[in-house]
């Protein structure tokens, strides 16, 4: 037997072992906002079965995802997650997760809930969110790091001006402290949705004018480059 065959055999043995041994593990999920000036609304952290998901790139957002991405409301997603017996930590930061701040969610996964998903809206945006979609939780004890990108739910035009957070309401919700951090009087960047499926967010444009201009977003502070979050997962058995 050649060595490559042997290692293939060993690998399949390891994989088979993993499948058999899938079991409840204690998981600590530390989430850090890496951005200079973007706020995360209350986070939803869930462990669920691999066949479920909160969102999928290239597919239309669910109404529950839309409510989260446009207004920061995770109650719909939380209800949906409970319905599929997911392990859930809702709002671990107790409100907004400020730029560069860190929060931690801790739970014990049920046997079959081996996929980790995380979402929260990004402020100020129209329907931007930070997301982790079905990351396989290692069954082996250890510390693992994942970096998250910013997505666009594809449900609202990115006009970048003050508005509402209800699903379908145009404009961006501006809860405190955002109301004092963004501009006003913007004419609106765009009125069209270029891609109605969930996609990588094109980023904020903003402008340099706090009183008028095209956008209410500050271009030197409230932009980002991916990744926008660092997730450190510590698995113990």
């Amino acid at each position: 037997m050649t060595r490559s065959n042997l290692s293939r055999l060993l690998l399949s043995a390891v994989l088979a072992g993993t499948a058999v041994q899938a079991h409840a593990v204690d998981v600590e999920v530390e989430i850090q906002n890496l951005t200079r000036g973007i706020y995360f609304t209350p986070l939803l952290v869930t462990a669920h079965t691999p066949d479920q998901s909160l969102f999928n790139v290239g597919e239309a957002a669910s109404t529950e995802l839309q409510a989260m991405a446009e207004g920061g409301d995770i109650s719909g997603l939380e209800t949906a997650a409970m319905a599929i017996s997911a392990d859930i930590v809702a709002n671990p930061a107790g409100g907004l997760l400020l730029p560069t701040a860190t929060t931690t969610a801790t739970f014990t996964t049920s046997d079959s809930n081996t996929s980790l998903s995380i979402v929260a809206m990004l402020l100020p945006t129209n329907d931007g969110f930070v997301g982790l979609n079905g990351w396989p939780i290692p069954q082996q004890a250890g510390t693992y790091t994942v970096y998250l990108n910013a997505y666009d739910a594809g449900t609202e035009a990115n006009d970048e001006i003050r508005g509402g957070g209800s699903p379908g309401a145009p404009g961006m919700p501006v809860p405190p402290p955002l109301e004092d951090l963004i501009g006003t009087g913007g004419s609106g960047v765009t009125t069209t949705i270029s891609n109605a499926m969930v996609h990588i967010h094109p980023g904020n444009i903003g402008d340099a004018d706090m009183m008028s201009g095209q956008s209410d977003i500050q271009n030197t502070v409230q932009r980002w480059l991916n990744p926008v979050a660092k997730v450190t997962v510590t698995v113990t058995e």
Binding site: T35, R36, P99, I205, A208, T220, V221, R223, L225
Partner: protein, 236 residues
């Protein structure tokens, strides 16, 4: 004979010699064991600038004891501020706890790379930090800090793609006179802190061709993550 086979023979030869030495010392069991000679570990660090138009200031490369030189969410040290605002790496290279340091001789331009060699003994647990400024910015820098090297065997190497950090010590105004690089030729370090005073990932520069009319930066000065590639090889 292949080199690898030759090495095996040499190692077997040394093993035999050691066994022989042990036999010889059978009558001297109470003699203290001689201290093993420290083994020297040499690392080669290569940084490649993969930006469009952001020269990297003379690179600071440090092997040091277990310590982070910056952390997202924490305030920048003054040594980091001096480097990130003005490209001056001298304070950073002088931090406490270093085991070996190297300084780049000149800026590393876009498309260029530079390599450094640092040596420590195996009695010291070495952690690597590399840090350099994106000079056509107010206070952007890239690098890694406190990377453990103890798992690296001879000829092992690891490659990392580096993100851009914002030191948070100077507002990203992009205004004339505030950027030390060739795009402006303006001021470097200024002790005043007029930004978040927290290290974060960088939001990117805007430029006058985007939506910042007073910026001295142009489209080519914009960047995305990653901005540099780092290759660490243990060569000895």
């Amino acid at each position: 004979m292949k080199l690898s086979m030759l090495r095996n023979v040499v190692i077997v030869g040394i093993g035999t010699a050691l066994l022989a030495a042990c036999d010889h010392n059978d009558n001297n069991r109470n003699m203290p064991e001689p201290e093993p000679e420290p083994v020297m570990l040499t690392y080669e660090v290569t940084i490649e600038n993969i930006s469009a138009a952001q020269p990297l200031s003379p690179v600071a490369v440090l092997l040091h004891s277990d310590q982070t030189l910056w952390q997202v969410g924490e305030s920048a040290s003054e040594a980091l501020e001096v480097l990130a605002e003005g490209g001056d790496n001298s304070d950073m290279l002088a931090v406490d706890g270093t085991l070996a340091t190297e300084s780049g001789s000149a800026p590393v331009g876009p498309g260029s790379n530079e390599s450094y060699q640092l040596t420590v003994s195996d009695e010291q647990s070495a952690y690597l930090s590399v840090v350099t400024m994106l000079v056509n910015t107010n206070d952007a820098f890239t690098g890694i800090t406190n990377k453990a090297l103890s798992d690296l065997a001879v000829n092992d190497s690891m490659t990392m793609m580096l993100p851009v950090y914002d030191a948070g010590t100077e507002a990203n105004s992009e205004a004339a006179g505030t950027i030390p690089g060739p795009a402006d030729g303006g001021e470097g370090f200024n002790a005043e802190r007029d930004d978040a005073d927290t290290v974060s990932y960088h939001p990117g520069v805007v430029s006058s061709q985007d939506t910042l009319p007073d910026s001295v930066l142009m489209a080519e000065h914009r960047f995305d993550n990653p901005v540099a590639r780092l290759i660490i090889t243990r060569v000895e």
